[in-house]
């Protein structure tokens, strides 16, 4: 197997008395699309947040390109998240006061890119995601499917190595959901980015290369030749 780019090893995470993850492990290779599946409350979103360095596990380690995320100080870890990771959530991720092109340009601007450069690149990504016509609109003025494609453009604009997608089609109908998934996985594969896709929908998981099941805080991986 290829050397993993991102790896969770026997991680434990509790919220008060509730153990969300109990010695859970999984890994993702560069450019791989992995679905994390499981019923509601199984711990799959907690797994994603631990892998992304948003949550710190109580025990176990998360390593990215050989570096232990838990041992990294806050500032470099935040920089890593901004430059090497991209995020797509179910909803509520776009800044409502900004236009769509400004939303996509935002991670570049936070990284110090000039406005004109950042927005030019943002427009290219909006075009790749087939939503260049909504560039000047605010998120409240576009449909759910268009908004998700803008969010995918924003996740990819910095050229991340890993995209974290938490139920990215959860608020969309079947047709729009499929369109977003096709564009997300096609553009990620073209860019060489790995995707960690949290979903409870099998048709969404079918866009992945393989799946990891989270059940009661444990991970299960079954190979079927």
């Amino acid at each position: 197997m290829t050397e993993p780019l991102l790896k969770a090893d026997s991680i434990v995470k509790s919220f008060g008395p509730t153990k969300a993850l109990d010695s859970a492990s999984m890994s993702v290779a560069a450019g791989e699309v992995v679905a994390v599946m499981g019923p509601s409350g199984s711990g799959k979103s907690t797994m994603l947040h631990c892998l992304a360095g948003i949550l710190a596990p109580d025990a176990g380690t998360v390593t990215y390109a050989g570096r232990d995320l838990g041992a990294m100080p806050d500032v470099p870890r935040s920089t890593l998240r901004r430059t090497e990771f991209g995020f797509v959530f179910q909803f509520g991720q776009l800044v409502p006061e900004l236009t769509c092109v400004e939303n996509v340009a935002l991670p570049l601007r936070l990284g110090g890119r000039k406005r004109r450069d950042a927005e030019a690149l943002a427009r290219e990504w909006l075009a790749r995601l087939e939503v260049d016509d909504v560039a000047a609109k605010r998120p409240g003025e576009v449909s759910g499917g268009q908004g998700q494609r803008v969010a995918v453009a924003r996740a990819l604009v910095t050229g991340p190595k890993v995209i974290f997608a938490d139920e990215p089609t959860g608020a969309l109908d079947s047709l729009n959901g499929e369109h977003v998934m096709r564009l997300l996985t096609d553009t990620a594969r073209e860019s060489g980015a790995a995707v960690i896709l949290v979903t409870h929908e099998a048709r969404v998981a079918a866009y992945s290369d393989r799946e990891v099941i989270v059940r009661d805080g444990h991970t299960r991986q079954v190979e079927f030749a």
Binding site: P39, R182, A202, R203, S208, E211, I213, R220, V222, F224
Partner: protein, 174 residues
């Protein structure tokens, strides 16, 4: 699938010979299962005997002469009746998967492994269908979607059963 009704429906567009009908059938509905010539000619012979089609001339070409067939008024009525009759919903009450789960529980084997292995097999097929949809036309996409939705329903059952294994284990062993 009723091959007879499908051929009758194709003949409503105008008279065709057997080879032409097979080609039209395969293009629209064949996908992984094209019709054999034997099936086409056996079906045409039955439709002819039942008065649902009639011979409508002979085509002369380089090879052997080919008979053209046309749908009769009775044939059109038969197609209309077929279209108006709903297909019987499949009750899915005899599930091999359910049986495997119960046998695993009764014999103290790991039923979760049975479910997870099946889940992996289902997802593998779903991946293949999803890949096929990417390059397919609308007809191909719709036929793949039909299969994908059914496989997804199975997977939801697998997930629900996995969540109830402990309870089911107690029940079947009591």
């Amino acid at each position: 699938m009723s091959i007879g009704h499908t051929l009758l429906g194709l003949l409503e567009h105008g008279p065709r010979h057997g080879y032409d009908l097979k080609r039209a059938y395969d293009e629209h509905f064949g996908h992984d299962r094209p019709l054999h010539y034997g099936q086409v000619y056996a079906t045409l012979s039955r439709l002819l005997k039942n008065g649902l089609i009639e011979e409508s001339g002979v085509e002369h070409g380089g090879g052997p002469d080919r008979k053209r067939y046309a749908v009769t008024t009775e044939g059109v009525t038969d197609v209309e009746r077929w279209l108006a009759t709903p297909e019987k919903p499949e009750p899915y009450m005899q599930s091999t998967l359910y049986t495997k789960v119960v046998i695993a529980l009764l014999s103290a084997r790991d039923a979760e492994v049975v479910l997870d292995t099946q889940r992996a097999a289902h997802l593998k097929t779903m991946r293949e269908l999803t890949d096929r949809k990417r390059g397919g036309d609308l007809a191909d996409q719709l036929i793949c979607d039909h299969a994908l939705f059914h496989l997804e329903a199975d997977l939801r059952w697998l997930e629900l059963t996995a969540a109830r294994l402990a309870e089911l284990g107690k029940q079947v062993r009591s």
